[in-house]
Amino acid sequence: MKRVRAEILSTRTLGAYRSLTLVAPELAERARPGQFVAVAMPTDRDFILRRHLTIHQSSRRGGWAGTLEFVVDPAAGPGTAWLSELGAHEFLDVIGPLGKPFAYPKRLTNCLLVGEGRSVAGLYFLAQELIARGKRVDMVIGASTLEAVFKPIEAKRLSQLVTVMTDDGTLGERGSIVDVLPEAVERCGAEVVYAAGRPAVLRAVAALCRTRKLPAQVAVEERMGCGYGLCGTCAVPVARKDGTGWDHARACIDGPVFNPARVLWDRWPAAAASAGLPAPDGPA
């Protein structure tokens, strides 16, 4: 974990989102998929907390060496709206890389990556690292509408089979990514599942992986205060390893990547408040 003053190298619009690439060699060389950065807000505004943004790209080699990219949804709130207005050569106060990254499978090869909306950003970084390790990558991505599907062409480039789902059917099939999960798992011969998104989606992934006995890792999105373990506000209910009970783990330093089999989805209100998702079959 480092704190740096990083210059914005470039920005671009990607559908409904805005991507910012920073010059941050100290962060880029350490960053791994699933991790995030905490970006400070300007001191003269009334939104004060750092914004916690999943790392979309981190380049250690080549012409982009030492850069780090993250994606914001300008509509998400005043902080991300402010970030999306910034241009090249402005500076940001950034702490990172933060959190526990995704682990790569040692023996298993077929990896299915599942995500929706902006959450997909971190999965592309993961896909590259998996491919570099000789794994097969398939994806199921989705969003509310075409504009909100994050880089579908990049998904096609990175994976063998891609399923795109939108709520309104403007891109790919109409429906939720949760609807097509069982079929996608079959079709890809998935041996490992990675997912990122809202708790309700992750819960559905967890339920499926539990019935199919598939190992899985999920990256949670929980509102954070600090991002590095001080405040204890980003709680996720997780079973203890020794089976003696459960604790509220901190998404920022105990996660954001969790083993979904250990998450107590019934104790997580956001996972229960599913938005149009089918009820998962029992606690995962």
Partner: protein
């Protein structure tokens, strides 16, 4: 005696391990732990935080491992990290506070105890211990009599501060932390629900600063010799100096340390620079020098 008049407020310094790479806790005047209770607490269901104008509304529900596990596992980490450590203790009964103080008695590395009075009173079935002078006197008195280290009573936010402060001072508190977070609420209009799972929460952050200054001014007038720690909305050296001028002895930094882990050190440096500019030797020379009209009460 603190090296600098800047502390990290309760609940904003993790478990002693997290700030490692970002700030040297030995350069901070003191660090208050999150509130520790007798039994472990799972805390409130997530989400636990929402932003408001120049503030945050939060509710962690006093999540902590309980005093035994704290002493066995967290305290050694704190001692290693090296701050002047103040342990915040909380509970709902007089017995809980007595047991907590007893357990901390003689523990190496514990330099002080801060009494969190924001909890519900389980014995008298009142919503908040710290809203009633009789209970504050009882609890603070018991802790102060037992403790071998200085005892600070943290007056909750949103209560009539001065009577509570006087009760705590008379009961033997070494100092007062003014104030805790006042109760707050955030609505999520999109779902017509509270913005977090547990419903109501507490307000922290820069939005509180004027309320903190008022609590300091009024209490300093009523208890001129009592050490007062200003807590709530102190984010910059200028804020800290305002608090000292209003009558605080030292400040506690909370949300500002969550946003910028070096904030307590930056504030301490800023105070030192201001003292130099004014050719003063100690922050105590700034304390309460504002000239007040006869009464601030309306």
């Amino acid at each position: 005696m603190l090296a600098t008049p800047v502390m990290i407020a309760a609940g904003c310094a993790g478990t002693g391990r997290e700030l490692g790479g970002l700030v040297d806790l030995r350069r901070v005047g003191g660090t208050v732990t999150r509130t520790i209770t007798v039994e472990p607490r799972q805390g409130a269901a997530p989400p636990r935080i929402a932003e408001s104008s120049s503030g945050i509304v939060w509710r962690t529900g006093m999540q902590n491992p309980g005093i035994d596990a704290f002493i066995a596992t967290e305290l050694p980490t704190w001692v290693k990290a090296g701050p002047q450590l103040v342990v915040s203790i909380g509970g709902g009964t007089l017995e809980a506070f007595v047991r907590l103080t007893g357990a901390l008695q003689g523990q190496p590395g514990v330099h002080g105890i801060e009494i969190d009075l924001s909890g519900a009173d389980e014995e008298l079935e009142r919503p908040m211990l710290g809203a009633h002078a009789d209970r504050v006197a009882e609890i603070v008195g018991a802790v102060a009599r037992m403790s071998l280290v200085p005892v600070f009573a943290k007056v909750p936010g949103g209560v009539d501060v001065v009577p509570i402060a006087i009760a705590a001072a008379k009961a033997g508190a070494s100092g007062l932390t003014l104030t805790g977070s006042p109760p707050a609420f955030v609505v999520d209009a999109s779902t017509a629900n509270p913005a977090f799972a547990s419903g109501a929460g507490w307000l922290s952050g820069p939005a509180l600063k004027p309320m903190t200054l008022r609590a300091i001014v009024d209490t300093a007038r009523a208890l001129p010799r009592m050490p007062l720690l200003a807590s709530g909305g102190i984010a910059t050296a200028a804020d800290a100096i305002d608090a000292l001028l209003a009558g605080a002895t030292a400040v506690q930094v909370g949300v500002a340390a969550m946003i910028d882990p070096t904030a307590p050190v930056t504030i301490a440096k800023g105070i030192a620079a201001e003292l130099k500019r004014r050719s003063l030797l100690s922050p105590m020379q700034l304390r309460g020098v504002i000239r007040l009209p006869e009464a601030t009460a309306e």
